[in-house]
Symmetry: C2
Subunit: 255 residues, 2 copies
DNA sequence: CGAATCGTTGACGTCCGTCAAACTACGTGG
DNA sequence: CCACGTAGTTTGACGGACGTCAACGATTCG
């Protein structure tokens, strides 16, 4: 709204900058003891300004900083292999952006300004300096776990929002299969511990649909299922099912 | 699978316990320096065992500990005002459970064992003792922010999985309205910064449906909308729309 | 003034949710 | 061991919510 030139003139120190900030009372920075963070205020001196359509970071970007929304609005979204997008949230003043990168060191989603907006840039390494040496790795791990959970949910959102029932179930089976493999079991044959009803609820469909799809997959020779015992016969076939046309196929915003 | 009696006999100290644990190589505990945490190993000596259907914690429970899955499987879910449930995830060995409680101090979701399962109990206060005094509040805040994001996503899952298009849009509008209010704007009249296409994508429906619903809400005198300018006329009416019958109305598992 | 982006409106078809009923597996008590 | 109840799963018939397609306004911008 106001020009960048004006903003810069107002800011002589980060403290000054914060004093003028309308999100002051909710802000993360107010929780940081200024004495402990000599480098931080300097790093935060210049807010970053984004025009409409500009992206704060994109999927795969290396993770350096977290961001505090000063003004404007943002959308975050994930992009799947086929280029389709699922918006996972809208963000307003005082929201924290970028924590999704803590776990892997790379951003798992993408954030774009919906109008001219500004953020404070908080370098994560500066934050970590103040945590003291002991156990800071642990803390980072916990943040990663929490934001990893958020990412996992975003992914599920993508399933529910964009895929047909058959694709959702295929994705679910492949997901379980992978997890069983990671934990030392067989990837192709395992026991489903949850009832059909839970699967249906999780995937946002009716129990009857789950039942019918299991049968259909069996007829297509993709799986063999008896009660809760499941055997994956044709993994590639399931992948094909997953990647077949999905809902809202219209592409857009392919900037 | 093996009896509780056997497990207990094997455990003489937490270290012994961990040595026997098949999730050892992925586990959070391996990241904790034993010298720094005299109380922790003692606290973790006895894993907690849950029978099928038993719950680790329920929505609203006070947050004390996080949990590491040793064996078995769990489901997590949230419950809305009407008692309906949305499953938000299935959890296997080595998963971390309970971080959803860090932010508010209470658990926002509920976790139930799908079969006989066991978890290690890690009291969060013991962890925090080791973080040192400086800035541990900040770290906690960041974990809270990350897990808050996960919870937010779970909530959206509930929308996509269980509600009709009209209810999703009503919920979206009320949500935006609240956020605008929290940030000092008007709750009843504001500017939508995102295009219809983004709203549709976010809520998992077609653009045309969004458009038609806006019109319908207008005819019902719930809102007044012109392009991106929105005015909420009848908040209670929107709430009624939201709470009207939704999909998968069949209740279950009302233990 | 075109071109592009965004939003609206109508007609049509289908995926999948709803309802109803039968079948199974499993546990419990007589 | 069998009768019985319950919870879980399957199957079929039916219909409505909503996605798809197509075309037309409205707005912005170079």
């Amino acid at each position: 709204m106001h020009s960048r030139r004006n903003s810069v003139e107002h800011i002589s120190t980060a403290r000054r900058s914060c004093d003028n900030c309308c999100t002051r009372k909710y802000c993360l920075v107010s929780r940081i003891d200024e004495r402990l963070t000599p480098g931080l205020s300097k790093a935060m001196r210049h807010p970053r300004i984004l025009a409409r359509g500009e992206r704060l970071f994109i999927q795969g970007d290396k993770f350096y900083s977290i961001y505090l929304v000063r003004s404007g609005t943002f959308k975050s979204y994930i992009i799947d292999d086929t280029g389709d997008r699922q918006i996972t949230g809208f963000h307003f003043a005082a929201d924290i952006l970028g924590l999704d990168g803590v776990q892997s060191g790379r951003h798992g989603l993408e954030i774009e300004a919906l109008e001219t907006s500004s953020v404070c840039v908080v370098p994560f390494c500066k934050l970590e300096q103040d945590f003291g040496q002991n156990q800071s790795g642990l803390y980072r791990y916990l943040i990663g776990a929490a934001s990893g959970a958020a990412y996992q949910q975003s992914y599920l959102l993508m399933l529910l929002g964009r895929l047909h029932a058959a694709q959702r179930l295929a994705s679910f089976l492949l997901d379980i299969s992978r997890k069983m493999g990671e934990r030392g079991g067989s990837e192709s044959e395992f026991h489903l511990t949850m009832p059909r009803y839970d699967i249906a609820n999780y995937l946002g469909m009716a129990v009857e649909t789950v039942s019918r799809l299991f049968k259909r997959f069996e007829k297509q020779n993709l799986i063999k299922v008896e009660r809760r015992h499941l055997k994956i016969i044709d993994r590639d076939g399931l992948l094909d099912t997953l990647s077949s046309d999905h809902r809202f196929s219209a592409l857009r915003n392919t900037a």
